[in-house]
């Protein structure tokens, strides 16, 4: 399913948080949204899945305006993994994951939940109640819940924020696998190395605008990163894959 936004402007109260932004995300690929805090990444993601209204412009799914899709269809077509998601009642992990099947009715609940738990490596946790989970475990359970929808579009807002390095890699692999499996994946990331290694394309945002879009090596050029984030970076490749490390604040560059 092709997800596209055309000349999108979003407001929060009186403030414009995203201005004249266009993007296209295609099946089989992962698009990373990167940019400093307050760039409008989360607002953009929320508008793409219909959680927030659009002030101007249009969001389309396979060419059809999002507003024209009924809520149920939308629930099956788009899976949204919220930033700092919560689980309000101490249910069992496997039941939380199965909530991802709510838009589909009773079909395939157990099998889909099983696949999602395997992909997010939470099968060993399946019988535990969510109240007993660590922050990282809870984040993976929520990822499994989002994967269980098995939607053609997966939108993940900072899915690795609470995770240790092992599980950061695992979650990024799970998202990449979802994309390789034919899903259209958009994820907000702060880790530039993960963005460079796992995303097929990146959209760099600042101040509500897209300042660069394209292949990771182009978008993450050191001068672009410095302009957007105000940091200098050290870059390189290891085993054919790029890494990019924030090194200094650029305003502190000349200080001893």
């Amino acid at each position: 399913m092709i997800l596209a936004a055309q000349d999108l402007t979003l407001r929060r109260g009186d403030a414009i948080v995203v201005r004249d932004l266009s993007l296209t995300a295609r099946p089989g690929a992962m698009l990373g949204l990167i940019g400093p805090n307050g760039a409008g990444k989360t607002s953009l993601l929320r508008a793409l899945c219909g959680l927030d209204p659009v002030a101007a412009g249009v969001v389309t799914y396979d060419g059809r305006p999002a507003a024209a899709l009924d809520r149920r269809t939308f629930g099956r077509a788009v899976s949204y993994l919220a930033q700092n998601g919560r689980i309000h009642w101490p249910m069992k992990v496997e039941e939380v994951v199965a909530l991802g099947r709510l838009p589909h009715g009773p079909a395939e609940v157990d099998a889909a939940a099983e696949r999602a738990m395997a992909a997010a490596d939470v099968l060993p946790l399946r019988g535990r109640t969510t109240g007993s989970l660590s922050g990282g475990e809870r984040a993976r359970v929520l990822l499994a819940r989002a994967l269980a929808v098995e939607a053609p579009v997966l939108l993940a807002d900072e899915p690795v924020a609470a995770l240790d390095p092992y599980h950061q890699l695992q979650v990024m692999e799970a998202l990449r696998d979802a994309a390789r499996g034919g899903a259209t994946v958009i994820t907000v990331l702060h880790d530039l190395t993960l963005a460079a290694r796992f995303c097929d394309r990146l959209l760099l945002m600042k101040g509500g605008r897209a300042v660069a879009e394209g292949a990771p090596d182009l978008v993450l050029a050191p001068e672009r990163v410095r302009d957007a984030y105000g940091v200098t970076v050290e870059t390189g490749t290891r085993q054919g894959e790029p890494f990019i490390l924030p090194w200094r604040r650029s305003d502190a560059e000349h200080k001893p």
Binding site: C49, G50, R71, W89, G100, L102, V109
Partner: protein, 336 residues
């Protein structure tokens, strides 16, 4: 459906509670201040013989048992739904403000002497109060008010109606009238007729249907409002159903029985571990357990030999409050 991986299987639990309710209703028909042969009364009633026993059964005991179950179901199911909607274990049917408005409506019926003119003035006044409060909340909900706004509006409504009720008591023409109102406010199911049932039960059933229709949305709300919306559930619709349903069921309950506290708060906590803490499954069983608890408390009221008879609302609060404290202690120890 998902496997019932936690708690007791739903069907077994619901059936068990139904059997308990039927047993308690039967006990409620039999137990009372006057010794009573239920088989004679039933035989007379079936045969259309207007004996005293048949009249006591049809005019006093049967409405009391039906209302005990219906009011208890209303309080239990709306308590579970409001806790699920707000994701707050301390919510109860009182928070939407409708119970206060229903009480005020009934108090005004007292105050203006309508209740002495005809018996149904009280529940009618209560329903009118609940109806006005519901209309107010629904207008807010339709204008896009969030859950927190609706609850705050409910709290404000409760304060206002509480103040107006106090004002009516303050200006009461005689201390006896004031005492009558205070007794009514304590909540009771005694001396209700089948007319009371006919007047209020349809509103309660309507409320149950609206609230039970949100079961899947309640499950989705476990993950927060944003995720529930992304799963295809309409938040405004869910709010409308829960607030409208709670208003109809609780408004009718208060209108007919006065304020019966703690059932709506405590019952969902009792049932939650039995349904694996799943808020959608909690709705029906909380209704059933609320019915059982209220029937049980109303039987207890009749078994405790005090004069005047203890008020049902007093008993539920006396039992409910300490029990709730114990429950909170256990939840804290479990780290939930």
């Amino acid at each position: 459906m998902t496997r019932a991986t936690t708690g007791i299987p739903m069907t077994g639990l619901a059936l068990g509670l139904c059997v308990l309710i039927l047993a308690l209703m039967a006990a409620s028909l039999v137990i009372g201040p006057v010794p009573f042969d239920i088989s004679h009364a039933l035989a007379d009633l079936m045969a259309g013989r207007p004996s005293l026993e048949a009249m006591v059964l049809a005019e006093l005991r049967l409405p009391r048992a039906i209302l005990g179950a219906a009011v208890g179901f209303s309080l239990g199911v709306t308590g579970a739904a409001l806790q699920g909607l707000m994701r707050n274990p301390l919510a109860d049917p009182g928070v939407v403000g409708v119970s206060g408005a229903a009480a005020l409506g009934a108090v005004l019926a007292f105050y203006f002497g309508l209740s002495s003119a005809f018996a149904l003035a009280l529940p009618l006044g209560g329903l009118a109060g609940a109806g006005l409060a519901t209309a107010f909340l629904l207008v807010l909900a339709r204008r896009g008010a969030g859950t927190a706004t609706l609850i705050l509006a409910g709290v404000a409504l409760n304060s206002l109606t509480g103040a107006l009720t106090a004002l009516a008591l303050n200006l009461s023409p005689s201390p006896y009238a004031a005492l009558e109102v205070v007794f009514w406010l304590m909540g009771s199911l005694s001396d209700r007729s089948l007319q009371h049932v006919a007047l209020t039960l349809p509103f309660m059933v309507l409320g149950w249907i609206l609230v039970l229709a949100t079961s899947r949305a309640m499950d989705a709300l476990t993950l927060g409002e944003d995720t529930a919306q992304s799963l295809g559930f309409s938040l405004p619709r869910t709010r409308l159903l829960v607030v409208g349903g709670a208003a109809a069921a609780v408004g009718a309950s208060v209108a007919v029985a006065g304020a019966i506290g703690f059932v709506g708060l405590v019952v969902p906590h009792l049932m939650r571990p039995l349904v694996g803490h799943r808020p959608g499954r909690l709705l029906l069983v909380s209704g059933l357990a609320g019915a059982a608890l209220t029937l049980g408390a109303d039987i207890l009221v009749r078994l405790i030999p005090t004069r005047p008879e203890l008020k049902l609302g007093v008993v539920t609060a006396l039992l409910g409050a300490p029990f709730f404290l114990l429950l909170l202690r256990r939840l804290k120890m479990e780290g939930e």
